[in-house]
């Protein structure tokens, strides 16, 4: 079978390897599609729902999990998409109890990129009910800290840990508004590879200088 497929994305005719996801194809061709839970070295889980695009007659799909098909027509921007992802991002920002000014991840943060892409005005977000208290930093891990106020719960860190060390040392705990990432029990399971710190799309995992 042929191993190249061609499709159209935002009016641009593109040829990619068979099996490439729509999101990867777009990023490779310098078309930005919002995403938080996607990482090139991990299997796409479609958890954040920000990478949705319109295909064909207006069907919405998560582009990270959608392999490109020959002749496919993809639209990455439309009022329909915007209507879905804008509130999601606004809520994430409202729950992001931190300012960018002093954040070490500023300028290489996926959330900042998203905000700029959607032209989100922080003042508009203030109409949402902001978290009252700042949660304390979790310092239980020997080599990095976890800041729940910045975490977007994308799951990249857990998935990374699991893929490298087979069993993750990090887990989601809690539910809903109070969900966090935590290390539990056998802390020595962490092998201090710090790959999760490197891959965190925001600045929620912070390497500690020892």
């Amino acid at each position: 079978m042929m191993d190249k497929v061609s499709f159209t994305i935002d009016g641009l005719e593109v040829v990619v390897d068979n099996g490439t996801s729509v999101l990867e194809a777009a990023l490779r061709n310098n078309i930005y599609i919002p995403h938080l839970c996607y990482h090139p070295d991990l299997e796409a889980r479609g958890a954040c729902r920000l990478c949705i695009v319109e295909i064909g007659g207006g069907e919405l799909v998560t582009s990270c999990r959608m392999p490109v098909e020959s002749g496919m027509v993809v639209k990455t921007k439309s009022p329909k998409i915007e209507k879905i992802i804008r509130p999601v991002v606004e809520l994430l920002i409202a729950d992001h109890h931190a300012s960018c000014a002093s954040c070490p991840s500023s300028s290489h943060c996926e959330l900042q990129k998203l905000m700029a892409h959607l032209r989100i005005d922080r003042r508009r977000v203030r109409r949402l009910r902001l978290p009252k208290v700042k949660a304390p930093l979790d310092t239980t891990n020997p080599c990095f800290d976890y800041d729940p106020n910045k975490c977007v719960l994308c799951g990249i860190c857990l998935q990374t840990c699991e893929s490298i060390h087979r069993v993750s040392a990090l887990y989601y705990v809690g539910r809903g508004y109070t969900t966090r990432i935590a290390f539990y029990g056998d802390k020595s399971r962490c092998e201090s590879c710090r790959e999760c710190v490197t891959r965190c799309p925001v600045g929620a995992l912070i390497s500690r200088k020892t």
Partner: protein, 163 residues
């Protein structure tokens, strides 16, 4: 973990095959026996099911029903459902907090009281209501709360339900 508790736990586990999908039934049964999920029990269950302790913690913290801290001898559950809310469950709760000296979600240091709220006990006609262990008390007033929780009557109450 004490020997007796470990024995009980091993007995519970002996009815399972060690498959990952048995986690929730096991947690329910262990909690039924211990009133909460002790840390040692979680370790043992983890090795029994061959999963990480963290995974159990993740599941247990997701469901409101699982508890990781022991219950007081008297578990006081105040209903904050619509009917009870309208009929003043908030004041009832405050009054209990004052009387027993613990806040919602806490257990007193002498392990006598645990104070909780739920979305509905299921007897809205008796609003505002509360439950102490397995006994429901309806049509609560601040007076009745004081009666229930003053030191003289509490010794009688602790015989309720569990035992």
């Amino acid at each position: 973990m004490e020997e007796l508790e470990e024995q009980l736990l091993r007995e519970v586990l002996s009815f399972y095959r060690g498959k990952k999908n048995e986690l929730i039934p096991i947690l329910l049964e262990v909690q039924g026996n211990f009133s909460y999920l002790p840390e040692d029990a979680i370790q043992l269950i983890a090795s029994f099911l061959n999963i990480a302790e963290g995974e159990i913690y993740s599941v247990a913290s997701f469901y409101a029903q699982f508890r990781l801290l022991p219950l007081g001898r008297q578990c006081v559950t105040v209903c904050r459902g619509t009917a009870c809310h309208i009929r003043g469950s908030h004041q009832i709760l405050q009054e209990i907090e004052k009387a027993v000296g613990v806040k919602e979600g806490e257990t007193s240091s002498d392990m006598e009281y645990t104070l909780e709220t739920v979305a509905c006990i299921g007897c809205c006609a008796l609003a505002p209501c509360l439950r102490i262990n397995n006994n429901v008390h309806g049509e609560m007033t601040l007076e009745k709360v004081r009666g229930l929780f003053n030191p003289e009557s509490s010794s009688g109450l602790s015989l309720d339900g569990r035992g």
